[in-house]
Symmetry: C2
Subunit: 307 residues, 2 copies
């Protein structure tokens, strides 16, 4: 069992739009060393990540047995696709059609496990966070964009792409909210109406500069509560975990729970109606969810393949 | 292997709000005999179903080894709940708190497999219909109500209840549609806006009496296309299969496909955008989906339990 030998390590990468978080972990998922690199161009950022892993693996006298990459998207996860392992049609300058998996497979010569940033984070919640041992739950990040990782029957949902919860079309009362959203594709999708980008576009300043009693938070509450209501009706998860920069507003969580109950209006699973404070929660993994999740997924894939 | 002995049979029941469809099938899921009984009171309807199965099992000289029940809801599917196997808080007169599984377990003395009518139908599509061999798909019935069975990674989604897609809150433009829906719980949920009941409530006549060019079908198209768009963004299934009385309107399917593409506006998996006619389809199982699905689930459960 190579994976149990005590100098084996896993490289975990959370590839985000702002920075690339890198961590080297042992096979018990203990953190050995961590670093972050700014997301500039693929040539620069990928090389910095490669050099970090090469150097730290050598410096700690370890052997790299696998790498997990949890990436911003959209990404291609279809095993037989010619662009499997690519960041595909992202509007982010320079990053469209970047073969991120191929790069690290070649440069570090290890098997790669690839998934979305939010799937990585969702799995991290299962491994070490608020979803420990749960079979059915949803992790939603509300940051610059909105995305979700969904676990059903103890497995991540992929389908023929990966969930894009941010593009769910939402109820919106034009008399109460004349703003139609900042999404270039959709009028009135969740990300267009409730992402950090939309808050800034709607009010002219970033959310972190708005007072706690600013009307922005009522609208934000309404859309995120509707989102939680729809996810509950569609999938009846055991828990919804919220993360991302927008959720750092301390007043928001309780406001969402209360409006969520207004949205359900008594129609929902008893556990959800009665213990909403255990049902809609915030992540408490301090930004480590995706790193832990994708490392565990990489390790599991090794085990499944008998390496 | 008792289940392969050639006189073993499965009882399959699709418990609907209008009628209870019953079928006796062999262990290859071939139909032996079928009947339907009107849904009146539990005492009358359940006894009629019991008598049918007792008599046909005896008449065909067979041995009943399992029963599958696919029921209208809401139902309790939580294994450790005191009301597991019950039809719970249905507004249907007399049927609230009906222990449908307990009744047949006692009266027919067989193991019971229990699920929603739409989960049964979804599984039937996998066994014998449009979802043959697919890992990820959704079956939606648009009839008196709206419900869905969802399959992810080859398994039915249950969560802590079962999907209630009909109660998803929908975008609605009050300038184009002033009707807020017929749902007693929600303003603007899918079932309230687009079920057969809502069509009748909105226009004063049942949908089947409305002309093919009646404006009702534009609204119906809009809401069902939005539903398909949201299901696509959330779960990226391989196929969405539509059934139910409302979908018998022949003009509706193509209208939904076209408006669905308008809703996505180019943002979706390539296979979905390019081959929408293979992606959004109608059931072609002629009302047998739930019977076949729940029979297969009953048989699988026997196999899993090694009986």
């Amino acid at each position: 069992m190579q994976s149990l030998s005590n100098n084996n390590v896993i490289a975990a990468l959370e590839a985000g739009g702002t920075k690339f978080n890198c961590a080297l972990l042992d096979t018990e998922l203990n953190l050995i060393v961590q670093a972050a690199f700014e997301t500039t161009t693929p040539a620069h950022t990928l090389a910095a990540v490669r050099d970090f892993f090469r150097e730290t693996v050598a410096a700690h006298n370890t052997q790299l047995i696998a790498m997990g990459i949890a990436s911003f998207g959209p990404i291609d996860l279809m095993a037989h696709s010619p662009t499997y392992g690519y960041i595909t049609t992202t509007p982010k300058p320079d990053w469209s059609n970047t073969d991120i998996c191929g790069y690290f497979a070649r440069e570090l010569n290890v098997p790669i496990t690839f998934d979305t940033d939010v799937n990585g984070a969702a799995w991290g919640e299962k491994v070490a966070g608020a979803a420990h041992d749960l079979s059915d739950f949803i992790y939603v990040t509300v940051g610059t964009g909105i995305g979700a990782g969904i676990v059903v029957n103890h497995q991540l949902v992929h389908g023929i792409r990966h969930p894009e919860v941010g593009h769910m079309l939402m109820p919106r009362d034009p008399l109460l909210d004349s703003y139609t959203g900042c999404c270039p594709f959709h009028v009135g999708c969740l990300e267009g109406l409730a992402s950090g980008k939309s808050i800034e576009s709607r009010w002219g300043v970033p959310g972190k500069l708005l007072r706690a009693d600013h009307p922005a938070w009522q609208l934000e509450t309404q859309y995120l509560a509707q989102m939680c209501a729809n996810l509950t009706q569609l999938l009846a998860p055991q828990k919804i975990i919220l993360g991302g920069g927008v959720m750092e507003q301390p007043q928001l969580l309780q406001m969402i729970r209360e409006h969520f109950l207004v949205c359900l209006n008594g129609y929902g699973p008893a556990a959800v109606l009665e213990r909403t404070e255990d049902y809609i929660v915030k992540t408490h993994l301090n930004g480590m969810a995706a790193i832990l999740g994708i490392a565990e997924l990489a390790l599991s894939q090794l085990d499944q393949e008998g390496l």
